[in-house]
């Protein structure tokens, strides 16, 4: 089986079978990352451009490592060093990139829909590395991978996603992903952070963390963007931590074997208490490890399969 489209732009355009294929492939990539020599040749001669129009360290690093472990040539391009600071439009940047014949472009952009725009104009495969408040499909896929590892399945679970849902692309992609795979997703946060119509994406809304966490198999906390305090979303970090943050007492309400997730970077003491972040139920660092394997899987699948890796 192969992926049907040339791009990975969001979760909604992937079928259940495609998601399973991606997760299965990622599982096989994990082993490569454990080897003493962490490099295989299947993407030798392929060019992958990492076009990060918005600052990001961890996601970019994760894509970069994934590319290099498959022997692709990965080239980073940041907005600050590109001609976009000289006034070049995204369309011109896309056309310039196209002229250089890359095979895959990973784009992170502050505008929702920018990867769709780029993909429309390029022959290369485009992977959305996070666009505005819209989607972060690779994060959702690695989250699904992490949950499947711990729970052995993705269906029939209760997933609580807590925090600033309105501004979170991670939340949107996870809602689409987990509900597609048969889980129930409950989102929670203060009403100022719950966008209108989120139910239409398949999520149930709770305005209390306690209610959302109750009986949850997975508790996923989202980062509070401190710069948003000027947007009147919440009065103070102190009040947020007390009312909506995850602490040991609150986690007790979850299923006994519930796991704790966070896409990072974390504000310790705000959305998540430090002891929870470091406890045995936290899979936060495994999410990071899985991220590399998952992105390797996507590179491989978009380049036409996994055959070469198995032969290596």
């Amino acid at each position: 089986m192969q992926l049907s489209g040339k791009d990975i732009l969001d979760i909604s355009s992937l079928s259940m079978d495609e998601i399973n294929l991606i997760l299965d492939t990622a599982e096989r990539m994990k082993e490569i990352n454990q080897r003493p020599v962490k490099k295989v040749p299947p993407l030798k001669g392929k060019t992958i451009v990492l076009f990060f129009h918005e600052p990001s360290t961890r996601t970019k690093l994760s894509f970069d490592i994934a590319a290099k472990r498959l022997s692709a040539d990965s080239i980073s391009m940041a907005a600050s060093s590109s001609s976009m600071v000289k006034g070049e439009t995204l369309l011109d940047t896309a056309k310039t990139l196209e002229a250089m014949n890359p095979d895959i472009i990973v784009i992170r952009h502050s505008s929702s829909g920018a990867p769709h725009f780029i993909a429309k104009h390029l022959k290369a495969s485009v992977i959305n590395g996070g666009d505005g408040m819209h989607a972060h499909p690779t994060q959702a896929l690695l989250d699904m991978m992490s949950v499947r590892q711990k729970k052995g399945r993705l269906d029939g679970l209760k997933i609580a996603v807590i925090g600033d849902i309105a501004h979170s692309r991670v939340a949107r992609s996870n809602i689409e992903g987990f509900t597609k795979m048969g889980s129930e997703v409950v989102v929670a946060g203060p009403p100022t952070m719950i966008p209108i119509g989120i139910e239409s994406m398949g999520a149930r809304v709770a305005y209390s963390t306690d209610e959302a966490v109750k009986g949850a198999d997975v508790v996923m906390m989202l980062r509070i963007q401190k710069e948003r305090q000027g947007d009147f979303l919440f009065p103070s970090e102190r009040e947020y931590a007390r009312e909506f943050g995850l602490n040991p007492k609150r986690l007790e309400k979850a299923a006994p074997d519930a796991i704790v997730m966070h896409p990072g970077p974390m504000n310790r003491g705000v959305e998540i208490s430090s002891d929870i972040a470091d406890c045995g139920r936290s899979v936060i660092l495994e999410q990071v490890s899985n991220g590399v394997a998952l992105r390797m899987a996507l590179f491989l699948l978009l380049s036409g399969g996994v055959k070469n890796v198995d032969e290596d």
Partner: protein, 426 residues
């Protein structure tokens, strides 16, 4: 010069709805009479226009267009805008002041009128700025603007945040007979949004603009009209709450009039699809409930007229990330075809449509464009059953931004006559 428009179905709301001949002499209407029974019947006209099977109406008037000149001639010039206008059946348009420089002084108003005169197509009624530079700080010089030819004032595109400035503008404009046109938007509530706030914006991760960012200002301006006794015209109504507020205002006897645009009764926010910037406008496309409320408003007279908010943009402003793209669509050449759908669907009658697009805008602007002797011969001839496909590459205007490209429409203008001259013929 004597022209006879022969055998068309003449619709002039409230006056005529019958098969008639129209005689035009030296640019003015000489007579509207029963077929073949005109007083000049024995004379031989210089030109006979056969309008059999067509509808002949007072020229359409678009109260809300952007002609982009001066300043943005690469998007549209006054001449190309007017070519688009006459191709849509319009014999007059009101052009908004957000040019560069802004039409906040007599020189710009005069420049626009001179360019329009040179183009010799549709008539132009310039709308001047409410505030200098559209900045919302101080009033423009209305007396001089009126003398130069301005017909109304509006800070269209730049909502007047200050209630005090808006009140004073309305009061001051009224003493020069200038209509105040309100672009109703609470900037704070709109909060840099780029489409309607709702499940679609949530799914696409785009910042939403709530309905009340419009309606709250509609309510304010209705109250200001009540306070001052001065008429106010509400531009491009998109939200159901605004329709309700205007309906209530009219019931209270307040002198409020309002317009909507074809896209608000034809499309919903679903048209944004996968970030199609051709569906980006301000106010944004709303939900189905709003669309139906706008249609209801047109049906019951709450919304007085159909305008287009014709907003040409080049690919430079549209081939961009959605949140960075410019607002607006080209409207002049599709307005009639889209509005005719209301007639073909049996929602309103043809006479109502003519009122919405022709005679009522004239009334609001203080003009008389009825088909009666002595009036200028500004006339549109419409083929109500002409089936055609929208092809933006064939637009007469310079820009091609429309969400309706490829749509099949029924009904269009086949001839437009201004001051007795044929300025467009299909």
């Amino acid at each position: 010069m004597l022209t006879k428009i022969s055998g068309g179905h003449v619709i002039d709301p409230g006056y005529i709805n019958a098969r008639m001949d129209i005689w035009i002499k030296d640019g003015s209407i000489f007579e509207v009479c029963e077929e073949g029974k005109g007083t000049l019947e024995s004379s031989s006209p210089d030109r006979i226009i056969n309008a059999a099977g067509k509808i002949v109406v007072p020229g359409l008037i678009d109260m809300h267009v952007h002609l982009r000149e001066p300043g943005h001639e690469y998007k549209e010039t006054i001449e190309t805008g007017l070519k688009a206008a006459v191709a849509g059946g319009f014999t007059a348009v009101c052009c908004m002041p957000n040019t560069k420089p802004v039409n906040d002084n007599a020189q710009i108003t005069s420049f626009i009128l001179e360019k329009a005169r040179q183009a010799g197509l549709a008539k132009v009624y310039p709308v001047a700025a409410i505030s200098l530079g559209l900045k919302g700080d101080s009033l423009a010089e209305y007396a001089e603007l009126k003398t130069a030819g301005a017909i109304a004032v509006s800070d269209d595109g730049m909502p007047v945040s200050s209630g005090r400035l808006m009140r004073n503008a309305m009061e001051y404009a009224s003493c020069f007979g200038l209509l105040t046109i309100a672009h109703c938007e609470d900037h704070e509530l709109a909060c840099n949004g780029c489409m309607n706030e709702g499940s679609v914006s949530t799914r696409l991760g785009l910042r939403g603009i709530p309905n009340i960012s419009e309606s709250i200002m509609v309510m304010r301006d209705i109250e200001l009209s009540d306070l001052t006794g001065v008429p106010v015209h509400i531009a491009h109504v998109s939200a159901r709450e605004s329709v309700n507020a205007i309906r209530e205002g009219k019931k209270r006897g307040i002198k409020v009039t309002a317009e909507t645009a074809p896209h608000y009764f034809t499309l919903t926010d679903e048209a944004v699809g996968n970030y199609d910037t051709n569906a980006k406008m301000n106010p944004p496309l709303r939900t189905e409930t709003d669309r139906l409320a706008v249609i209801k408003g047109l049906e019951d007279g709450t919304l007085d007229i159909i305008a287009t908010d014709h907003a040409p943009h080049s690919v430079l402003e549209k081939e961009l990330e959605f949140d960075k793209a410019a607002n607006g669509i080209c409207g002049l050449e599709t307005s009639l075809g889209l509005s005719m759908k209301l007639v073909h669907d049996g929602i309103i009658g043809m006479e109502s449509l003519v009122r919405l697009m022709s005679t009522r805008p004239a009334e609001i602007l203080g003009k008389d464009n009825h088909l009666k002797p002595g009036n200028n011969a500004d006339i549109a001839i419409i083929d109500p059953d002409a089936e055609w496909k929208v092809d933006s590459s064939k637009f007469q205007g310079k820009s091609k931004n429309t969400p309706f490209n490829g749509w099949d429409l029924k009904g269009r203008a086949v001839m437009t006559i201004v001051d007795g001259r044929i300025v467009f013929e299909l």
